[in-house]
Amino acid sequence: MVINETAVAPEAEKIQVSQSYWSLVWWKFKKNRLAIIGGIVVLLFYVSCGLLAEFFAPYGLHTESEFLEAPPQWPRFRDTEGRWHLRPFIYGLEQHINMTTRERSYTVDATKRYPIHFFIKAEPYKLFGLIKWDRHLFGVNPDQEGAHVYLLGTDRLGKDQLSRLFFGGRISLLIGLTGVIMTLFFGATLGAISGYYGGAIDMFMQRATEFLGAFPDIPLFMALASVIPATVSPLIVYFLLTIILAFVRWGGLARQVRGLVLSLREREYVLAAQSFGASDRRILFKHLIPGAISHIIVITTLAIPGMILSETALSWLGLGIRSPMTSWGVMLQEGGNIRAIRYTPWLLIPIIFIMLAVLAFNMLGDGLRDATDPYGSR
């Protein structure tokens, strides 16, 4: 028991720090270790793939080579003669083509040693699309004859898998984000209107969402995606794809927002606002939507992985992003068949990144959900 001499008027002594809603949210969020890890991973992904892909990737997106479908090369510190080097290096690969079976195989050539340099000047690029630069996080000396470093192997066209992972990640992660934002605007607004006004508008919206929901999304995706003409530039394909994804998935988000608005509509503070004569639009925008913002943030964060996975599935079927643009789904397409699994399994590595990203988003979203309910039951 704490002995407190000033117990007569304890409140006067302490400074009452009134906590705003958001500071409470942050405080509770901080306690959830999984959520913090998730948040950090998500941030790392967006920075490394989204913003600085060109820097992290040793090669450009379109750089091909003659080492088609080469296996991953491990960096070493110790060479075949047992000597230790401070700088990591890779042994070069030697290509053999079997004349009779036309099969390609690779062996490690210990005579070719390529040291890895950091912050090296290699292929030039434009950082953020604006600033000209040519430094990469790591790479091999471009002046060294025949030097290459394919840490995760290469694909059918001899492009470095690791570099493609970064560039592909940029597309996959951005589709996730922009798709959800589009869905949000469209779906949340409609859901809010539907929930608030009720009646005929609500009924119609409900039926429409149910209809879309009863429709299997694979054919919907496939059909809409295959409508995109083959001649259109990959960038436009990307935009159209985002819109298609948003269109098919808006139903789920709208339904959740509608449910949210329905529950909030009946709360006392709305009745109070109405009794003051506030207009519908004012109530909608100044009271209901801010009250729902925390829920919307949670719903959005948790919707992003679904969007990423949808794009992955579509691209895997060959209907999504078109080369030369690449995404994790496109990379899976090359690796996701029986022949590839048997002979070039390293092409499946994008799976790890996809799962990692989705896992991180889920942990983050779950943590946000717990944190935004600081007065809540759990």
């Binding site: 002995i3 407190n4 117990a7 007569v8 304890p10 409140e11």
Partner: protein
């Protein structure tokens, strides 16, 4: 013969909650005894520990709470072949998930709760609730007629399904529910609040317990319904000579129901006496303040302010030194009340209080 025997003894009970910010002493040294056939009232403000005391008696203190001290003794009366025997069971030593306490729960000491709205499982009808309790606790004696044509009870068996249903309808009738044969199949959401509380009483009494703990049973009900429920409780108590532990914060209700009253404040019992003494000669300043805060209807419009107790209930993590009530006490004695805790003192025959005013008499 069993009139003045004690049924449940609570000795220096301590219940603590270990939460992140510290340890909260929900019950700090409660001592009292409940006699057979009596109604013991526990009164106090919200959060003073009265519910926890009741739950401790059934070993149902919710996590992260724990009974950390004291003991609770239950004097079980065993009637066999005409003779009576008393078996003392130490409840605090029983395993909260074990078989012995489960036999006592509902079967020998039953409890009804504050929220009849949500204290019944929504998917089971009234009859199913009663039958579940009856199948668990009620035993029918197997009567045998021995060679000397004397009826003896050799053993007991569980009730059959038909008997259980009969008992259910009978109990619903006893608690005053009209058309019990139909109501026995009603679901909770089809019953009104008052009816649900009657069903809860029926469930509790169907197992013929020795004691009923009523934790704020009428707080959530309208005043008129409350009166009906209290009537039923008194009738049933007379009929089966049942002991009741009645917990409430409502002085009017407890005046009606209790024979003896314990007044609790911040986990401690501050006064204990029979109902008349508590109301007409309250000794502890807290009790006195409580009684004074009851609004009086006077003939003359004197426009007096309503009396309330000064200050607020202290923060459980920042308890006052010495007597917990001293910051709000109109009879505060500096140097004494803030130095140490008062002892449980006998002020008069049958009247106890925990206050320095009576200590050195």
């Amino acid at each position: 013969m069993s009139e003045n025997q004690v049924l449940v003894e609570v000795k220096d009970l301590k219940v603590e909650f270990d939460v992140r910010d510290g340890i909260v002493k929900a019950v700090d040294g409660a001592t009292f005894g409940i006699k057979r056939g009596q109604t013991m009232g526990i009164i106090g403000e919200s959060g003073c520990g009265k519910s926890m005391t009741a739950k401790a008696i059934l070993q149902m203190v919710p996590k992260p709470g724990k009974v950390t001290g004291g003991e609770i003794l239950y004097h079980r009366l065993i009637r066999s072949n005409g003779s009576e025997k008393v078996d003392v069971v130490n409840i605090t030593e029983l395993d909260p998930d074990g078989q012995e306490i489960r036999q006592i729960r509902g079967g020998e000491i039953a409890m009804i709760f504050q929220e009849p709205m949500s204290s019944l499982t929504p998917v089971y009808d009234a009859g199913t609730h009663i039958r579940e309790a009856v199948s668990l606790h009620r035993l029918m004696p197997i009567r045998k007629i021995d060679s000397q044509m004397v009826e003896t009870i050799q053993a007991h068996r569980k009730v059959t399904k038909e008997e259980a249903r009969e008992i259910a309808i009978d109990m619903l009738h006893k608690v005053g529910i009209p058309k019990p044969e139909q109501r026995v199949d009603s679901y909770p959401h089809q019953l009104s609040g008052g009816q649900r509380q009657r069903v809860m009483i029926a469930i509790a009494l169907s197992s013929q317990p020795a004691m009923l703990i009523a934790d704020e049973p009428t707080t959530a009900l309208d005043v008129s319904i409350e009166a009906q429920i209290l009537d039923i409780m008194r009738e049933l108590q007379d009929e089966v000579d049942m002991t009741i532990m009645f917990i409430t914060h409502n002085l009017g209700v407890i005046a009606e129901m209790a024979d003896e009253i314990c007044v609790m404040y911040m986990g401690k019992i501050v006064e204990r006496a029979d109902v008349v003494s508590v109301f007409y000669q309250p000794k502890h300043p807290y009790t006195q303040a409580l009684l004074q805060s009851i609004p009086h209807i006077v003939k003359k419009k004197t426009r007096e302010r309503l009396v309330s107790i000064e200050g607020m209930v202290p923060d459980p993590f920042n308890l006052p030194s010495g007597c917990l009530f001293h910051p709000r006490c109109p009879r505060f004695m500096p140097g004494i009340c803030d130095r140490s805790q008062p002892k449980w003192t006998k002020v008069e025959e049958g009247h106890w209080a925990s206050c320095f005013l009576y200590e050195n008499v």
